[in-house]
Structures are given as C-alpha cells and as structure tokens.
Subunit: 245 residues, 2 copies
Amino acid sequence: MTYCIGVLLDEGVVLASDSRTNAGIDRVSTFRKMFSYDKPGERFFTLLTAGNLSLTQGVVSRIGEWLNTEDPERDLFAVNSMFSAARVVGAALREVHSTDAGYLQQHDIDFTASFILAGQVKGGQLRLFMIYDAGNFIEAMGDTTYFQIGEVKYGKPILDRIIRRDISLGDAAKCALISFDSTMRSNVSVGPPLDLMIYRRDSLKPGFTIRLEDDDPYLQAIRDGWGGAIYKAFHDISHDPGWKI
Amino acid sequence: MTYCIGVLLDEGVVLASDSRTNAGIDRVSTFRKMFSYDKPGERFFTLLTAGNLSLTQGVVSRIGEWLNTEDPERDLFAVNSMFSAARVVGAALREVHSTDAGYLQQHDIDFTASFILAGQVKGGQLRLFMIYDAGNFIEAMGDTTYFQIGEVKYGKPILDRIIRRDISLGDAAKCALISFDSTMRSNVSVGPPLDLMIYRRDSLKPGFTIRLEDDDPYLQAIRDGWGGAIYKAFHDISHDPGWKI
C-alpha cells in the first residue's frame, strides 16, 4: 500500500509520501514515491505516486525520458502551464496503459495508478492536481485544498479538522505527519521513511525536502505527543448526557 | 453503507450502530441495525448488522423465527453458551447463503453480510464476537477489545487511542460517538439516528438503550466540542523541528 498527501495553501504547498511497497505480505520493500523536476527561477514540479509499482515506475521513467525533448505535450521542461504539465502525466500514464493493461488483464491484475502533481510555472499560479488511472485529472480549488492517494481513510479526519488554505506551511506539515502517524498505526503496509517537501509559493526554486526515518525526533514527538493530546482532548469534552446506565 | 462498533470492557459492553442504508445514492432509507434478545436474569444478546440489507434482514428474520423452538443449535433462548449463540448467527447466515447466494451471483451482486454479537448467558462470561460472510467468527480477547463492521477506517484512529479494557462504560460510549462523528463527516452514507446500547457485565437484564437523533444535545456537544479539542491538541504539540523552510 501507499499513502501520499498534497496540501495547497496560501503560503505554498506541502507534499508527503511514505516509501513502503509490498507485493504480498512477505515482499516488502522501500521505494521513493516522490519525484521532483525543477528549473530554478522558471518551474517547479513534484509528483507523488500510488498504485502498482511497475506502472508508476513506467510513468516516472517516461516522464524522465521525455525531459529536454522540447515537445510541449511531453516535456515538463517545455510545457508552459500547470494544466499542460498534468496532461503530460496523463499522457505518460495512457502510454503505460496502452502498453501493459492488456497483459495485466491476462493475469487478473488491476490497472491501478494514481498521482498527485504540484507545481508552478513562471508567470502562472501554484496548482495542485490529482491524476486518476485513466489519465484524467482534477484540480484543487475553492474548498478542496488537499488530495490524498493510496490508503486515504485513516488519516482523513485529522486533515478535515485542521487543514485550511490559510494555515502555515509548518502547521500543514505537522498535520500531514499526524495523518501519516494515524495511517501507519492502522495499516502496516504504509511505513517510514517518509518523504516531505515544502515549497513556498512563487519561490520557483526546489522546495525544502527531508526524509524522515522512523526514529526522526519530530516524527517521534508527534507519535508520542499526539496520543497524549488526543487523550486530553477526549477528557476535555465534559458534557454529561445524564444517562442512567 | 453502515458503521457499527462493539466494545468489550471490564465493566460491560458498549454497542453502537448507524441507521442509514442506501441502494444507489438516490435510494436512502433508515433501518435499524441493532437487535436485542433478552431473558432478564438468564441471558442477554445484542446483534449489530452490516452488509446487503436483504441478507441481514434474512438473518435477523431467521433468528427471530428460531426463538422458542428449543433447538439448542438455532434458538438463542435455548443455547447454553455464547459460543453456541455465535454459531446460531453463523447458521442463519449460512442458510441465507444457501438460499440466496446463487441468485445474487446471477446479478453480479456480492454476498456481503457481517455481524457483531455481544452477549452473556447466566453462569458464563460476557463475550463479544464478529461473524463474517461465511458464517465463521472470531472473538474479542486479550488486546483486541473492540470490533467494527461496515465503514471502519475513518473512525478507527480514535478508538485505537482511547479504548482500553479498563475504561468506563460512559467513556467508551463517548469514544464510540466521536468515532461515529468522524465517520459521518467523511462518508455521507453513514448517518443518524444512532442506536446506542450499554450493558453492564453480569447484570443479565436489558442494557441501557438510546436512539440519538441528529439534533441530540450530547451528539451536538461531541460534534462541536471535538473539532475545537482536536484543534487545541494539534497546537499543544510544540516540538520545533528546526527546519529552514
């Protein structure tokens, strides 16, 4: 399994991904699921991946091969908008589908691959997209300010309580890590190290990145602190329903 | 969809269920998913149901028809242990399967039905079971002190943080309602009114029951209070990771 989050804020964007993959419960490996493509001063893109590893790697490889080809429909360094960038990811995914989907079907393997793409091209807005299996995509706008892919449910309640477009990059990162902590507690197929990227809007330079190992002090502080904080929050609700139990 | 919880505690058991069913998003109805079978001074059972409504109603109907037949393999009023009671539910489910599963398959409809059964028979322990589609079942013991059926993921993190066997019945009920609040926020196919039942261990009388409508003051206090409490808990984690963002 996988868990990835992308959060779009007034200040910028926060992206996080786990790194655990498994093909059966006895084939567990660590693979990076966050990929960045930057031209400082000109463009910034970061892609998060979930789904069948052979498919997502196929997409990432194609995007890599298409760089510097100057094809505005395939080259992330040549596109002139985030909309075009999202279409490049969709095009790579559709090419993988046309190559592999039939063979997967012969083995009853689902074609599963989804992506979160954040980025900014000089002169344009910072934008956040979610790209589905079929290569179609949606964009975060208005009230929808974050996307999740992979094992999304355990970590969603805390996002819904905290994430708003005007919170700080640091608070969004903290909230994302709490969401990961809840998810990792409940699903062992989501696991550290976690990759975290924080990009400040309009900076047009590579974002701040850090890989958080299981024993990272901040991750530990969140793990230890959140349980106690929730326990206290629980007891702070003091309404007595007056039931005669 | 459905969400049900059963929590086994030193003091007793807490059971909760929503009441929303849907066959497509435009056929939403309210059906009770909690069913009790009591003989005061002698036995107490409560069953929670999730899955295809025609199947779970078929199981509940059979259990009802089998009452007072004095068949110890079918009659909840004749069984002499909780293990036998769980087998009665399994037997009813297997009979529904043998009657209906083939026809459902012709329409590509999955056979989905799962149950939580709590109860106590005089001279025996209070026990909690989860019964699967195939009529097989597991029992809560040791570290596993709660079961969920239906839409289980959104509301699981709060249970994992709070539920322990030695908390009070009232705290477990409060935690269950917070878990429902998180689930109802995230999945509109889980909805009020909620049925709540609290049974005190060894009392061998019908548990305390209440139906909580959407505007119930306690449910509202939890809904309003929990968001604020989580917000405060979030900001109480003050560790500075020292990142240069």
